[in-house]
């Protein structure tokens, strides 16, 4: 009996230890997680912002002044120390996020999350993310200075990691039960690849191929024109291109590959975009140029941006950084300011590849070329590793073949992507941080390859400019719109547009420059550019705004960034209201009809119009494009602008008909059918949520990077707007950094973002900017002119060399 009790109690003891020490499903190892001396209770604290910290390898002292928003103002004596300090401080406030993003970039999530993310990891490996990062490292290492700074940054991150004991690990490590690994320059390259994927990782070649096969060329061209009937391009229409003396690649008129493809890879959010603009002194209330930027990205916590001031005796820079990358990405220094929007060019093309019998060679120019193999081993938490062998051609990785989303032994599809070509894109930002004038800016961005960006510029000297910069293939007319035959050399990218011929404008006559992801140029630009998902609404609101009067103030800039005016709705709603037959509307439906008619097209939170519009127009759109719902066929429905154009101008087109019904519908009938369904849904929402005001309907939220874990996210953020308004805030996407800089000497700047400086959910600085951001407020950025704490500073920490 005694032995029995002893053994039983022993088993119980081991059992409880195991139970509390092991991660079970999504439940963290609860003993480890909850104990107060190494568990999450240790994260219940704000960060230390005073005292001295010894860091090995620093050459000199680095002073870090924190202001009340927890923005670090860093004063280093040289650039190596500066970037070491940037690495150290970024890790201090955002370690888990910066590491997690590189795991996501590299296709390594299964290492920490188990086999639910295996498909994602395989996809990222097949996309060639690791390969691309290795090419970027090679390019970075060609420039010893960039390489030394990237190394210093890594050393800084590692200096922080080394100081940590398990109780100091950020909450997410404790939750998922793993620990940080050393940072490397490759992780910086992976982070830059992650941005490239986010901003230049989308294309429609496969969907277009399916569409042209199903609908024919004439119908395809109607639905997907290269240019819409209105284009208000980034580079003004009247620009003279006669200085360009390298012609577009002549069209070889090769055949389109009319394959049927069922599945494609995950795409970046099509709303990933941004606004930027600058007015010249002549259009500014003060005579100083003014610049603004607001990149639209997923609303995440921890926030995508981390704001810093970075200075040495030779330069002084302020703005938004991306954890993992060096320098300021969107910001200003004493002389210039700059910001980016996405250039959305087609830099991904797909090639059909024919293999020989054993799959080791592929056909090219009537001979057989060897494939190279890249073996990707994906470690999986708690499971055996998964190995995927990926074949590479001279085009790029064969993403789809018998091992991935296909069962064809003989053929595969290879991806040609600018992201695989390498490039020292870090150098552009390092140089922009130090640029003093227009010429420095042009030189800085000239190295930049991807993701192509619209770089807006303004200087204290009074210049404004905008360059569309990236390494862009000089394509023949129509190249890369559809899948191409990979064996025909004429289908390869033949050359790149010479950098100096990338579209740009400096001090244009109209007195302002702007971009909002719209068409870069009109048809007069001598190189092939086609509509690859360009934005068509925000840009016109912005350009109309700046054409409407002579002088603009900071308040005008704020108003524009926060504008909820919905041009898309304004262009279709009156037509729908007018055309629809309202004789059969019930009393309830008529009431909603009247609400719609009263709407002034502002997506403000207390309006019901935006919700009715979403419901109504959304249903019309789906009814129009029911032809695109084809089993086992990847298809993209046409863009909104063209849909609205067809509704208004070709309302009796065959596409308007709903295939399922015996009747032949036209746009007019669709309006009524959709309206009745929409009102039904709106009334249901009203019963469930109390009302269908835009605030309730949209329910904007900022989700934690880990599948928006509710505990670490913010919900029901009271902000208006929508994807196509200048304040481009939709449900979980929007202006991720709003900045306005007036080019006084030194510049005067405002900035805010939806998040907070701290990555620690236990810190009050985790999400403290969100309310002000939602309300359209800005924070003054304290641009310190010397290493002296002003009264804006709440704490000073000194990083000292430890040897």
């Amino acid at each position: 009996m005694k032995y029995f009790k002893l053994i039983l109690s022993f088993i119980l003891t081991i059992g409880i230890f195991f139970l509390l020490n092991t991660k079970l499903g999504s439940i963290p190892p609860i003993g480890k997680f909850l104990n107060p001396y190494t568990g999450v209770w240790q994260n219940e604290t704000d960060e230390s912002i005073t005292g001295e910290i010894a860091i090995s390898g620093l050459k000199d002292k680095v002073t870090v002044h924190y202001d009340a928003e927890l923005i670090p103002h860093v004063f280093a004596q040289n650039e190596v120390d500066l970037y070491k300090a940037q690495g150290y401080l970024t890790a201090k406030h955002r370690l888990w996020q910066m590491e997690f993003q590189t795991y996501a970039a590299a296709g390594r999530l299964s290492e920490i999350l188990g086999d639910n993310t295996l498909d994602y990891d395989r996809q990222e490996r097949r996309r060639g993310m690791g390969y691309g990062a290795e090419q970027a490292i090679i390019a970075m290492n060609k420039d010893p200075e960039t390489a030394s700074f990237v190394k210093a940054y890594a050393d800084g991150v590692n200096a922080y990691i080394k100081q940590l004991s398990p109780e100091d690990y950020p909450v997410e490590y404790k939750l998922l039960d793993y620990k940080p690994e050393a940072w490397t320059p490759k992780k910086t390259a992976l982070l830059l690849m992650y941005m490239t994927k986010m901003l230049a990782g989308g294309d429609e070649d496969i969907e277009n191929t399916n569409a042209i096969r199903l609908f024919g060329k004439e119908r395809f061209d109607l639905l997907f024109p290269d240019f819409f009937d209105i284009v208000d391009p980034i580079i003004p229409k009247e620009t003279d291109w006669s200085f360009i003396d390298v012609p577009q690649t002549p069209n070889p008129n090769t055949e389109i590959v009319l394959d049927s493809i069922a599945e494609v890879m995950d795409k970046p959010n099509p709303d990933n975009g941004s606004n930027n603009w600058a007015v010249s002194g002549s259009k500014s209330y003060s005579g100083n140029a003014i610049l603004a930027n607001d990149p639209h990205l997923g609303l995440k916590l921890p926030a995508i941006w981390f704001v810093m001031q970075l200075s040495t005796p030779n330069h002084n820079t302020f703005g938004a950084t991306i954890p993992g990358a060096l320098g300021v990405i969107s910001g200003f220094n004493e002389h210039i300011s700059w910001g980016e929007t996405n250039a959305t060019r087609d830099v991904i093309d797909w090639y059909k590849v024919e293999f020989n019998d054993d799959g080791t060679k592929y056909k090219y120019d009537s001979s057989w070329k060897d494939v190279t193999y890249r073996v990707e081993t994906i470690s999986i938490k708690g499971k055996e590793a998964y190995t995927d062998s990926i074949r590479f051609t001279h085009h790029g990785p064969v993403v789809f073949d018998k091992n991935f989303k296909s069962d064809n032994e003989k053929f595969g599809y290879a991806m040609k992507w600018i992201g695989h070509l390498g490039g020292d894109n870090q150098k552009t930002f390092l140089e922009l941080n130090k640029s003093k004038n227009y010429d420095d800016y042009v030189k800085a961005i000239s190295h930049y390859t991807a993701p192509a960006q619209n770089f807006v510029f303004a200087s204290t000297e009074g210049d404004i400019a905008l360059w569309i910069q990236g390494l862009l293939p000089n394509k023949w007319e129509g190249q890369g719109k559809f899948i191409m035959d990979g064996s025909d050399p004429r289908n390869d990218w033949q050359s790149f547009i010479p950098q100096q011929f990338n579209a740009h404008t400096k001090n244009p006559e109209r007195g302002f420059v702007s971009s909002a992801n719209q068409h870069p140029v009109d048809e007069n630009y001598p190189y092939y550019v086609y509509n690859d998902g360009y934005e068509t609404y925000r840009n016109r609101v912005i350009n109309d705004f700046f054409s409407a009067k002579d002088k603009f103030s900071i308040q005008d800039f704020k108003d524009l960034q926060n504008s909820n005016y919905n041009l898309k709705a304004a262009e279709i709603v009156p037509y729908m209201l007018e055309t629809m037959d309202i004789s059969t509307l019930t009393k309830e439906e008529k009431a909603i009809y009247d609400e719609m008619a009263a709407w002034q097209f502002n997506n403000d939170i207390d309006e019901v119009g935006p919700s009715i519009f979403r419901q109504w127009y959304g249903r019309v759109y789906n009814m129009v494009w029911d032809e695109f719902d084809v089993e086992d066929t990847a298809l993209d429905t046409p863009f909104t602008y063209q849909t609205i154009y067809l509704l208004k101008n070709k309302g009796d087109d065959k596409f308007m008909d709903i295939l399922e019904t015996p009747e032949i519908e036209t746009a007019k009938e669709l309006f009524l059918l959709a309206f009745k369904k929409a009102t039904e849904q709106l009334q249901k929402l009203k019963e469930e949520d109390g009302d269908y005001k835009w605030l309730t309907y949209k329910a904007t939220y900022a989700g934690h990077l880990l599948q928006a874990l509710p505990a670490l996210s913010r919900f029901d953020i009271p902000i208006g707007g929508d994807g196509s308004t200048v304040n481009a805030t939709s449900e979980n996407h929007g202006p991720s950094w709003r900045m306005i800089v007036e080019m006084t000497s030194p510049p005067t700047a405002l900035g805010i973002y939806p998040g907070g400086q701290s990555g620690n959910p236990g810190s009050k600085y985790y999400d403290n900017f969100i309310d002000d951001w939602a309300a359209g407020k800005y924070h003054s950025l304290n641009f310190l002119q010397s290493n002296t704490a002003t009264n804006a500073i709440i704490g000073t920490q000194t990083l000292t060399p430890s040897n």
């Binding site: 230890f17 003993g31 104990n35 505990a711 959910p761 810190s763």
Partner: protein, 117 residues
């Protein structure tokens, strides 16, 4: 002083000392050691160390959390489906530690009975 009070106090002191160099299961070690040297009887074998560690962990978490407005405790309380109430999380923390300690103490008691022979 009754044995139970000595056991109670010693468990806490030992847990505190061991926590300086052992992970979370230091509370199990502390309860086991205490029960070997200061054996209790019947239900108190389990409950004295249980309440000792419950008190220790709950008070310690309370001290850490109350100084920071329970910012993180509220979130973790949502994460673990405890309704967002930080005090419930503090109590659960205490119970988790207490449970581990109590069970270890029962084992210690059985071990001490064997060793006496």
């Amino acid at each position: 002083m009754p044995k139970s009070i000595i056991n109670f106090g010693l468990t806490i002191i030992l847990a505190l000392v061991l926590s300086l160099f052992l992970p979370w299961w230091s509370v199990m070690t502390a309860a086991l050691a205490t029960s070997l040297f200061i054996p209790l009887k019947r239900a108190s074998v389990f409950f004295i160390p249980f309440f000792a560690i419950l008190l220790f962990w709950a008070v310690y978490s309370f001290v850490l959390s109350s100084g920071n407005d329970y910012t993180l405790a509220k979130r973790i309380s949502i994460l673990l489906s405890l309704g967002g109430n930080p005090y419930v999380l503090i109590l659960v923390t205490g119970i988790v530690g207490g449970l581990a300690a109590g069970i270890a103490a029962v084992f210690g008691k059985q071990l001490s009975l064997m060793l006496k022979k």
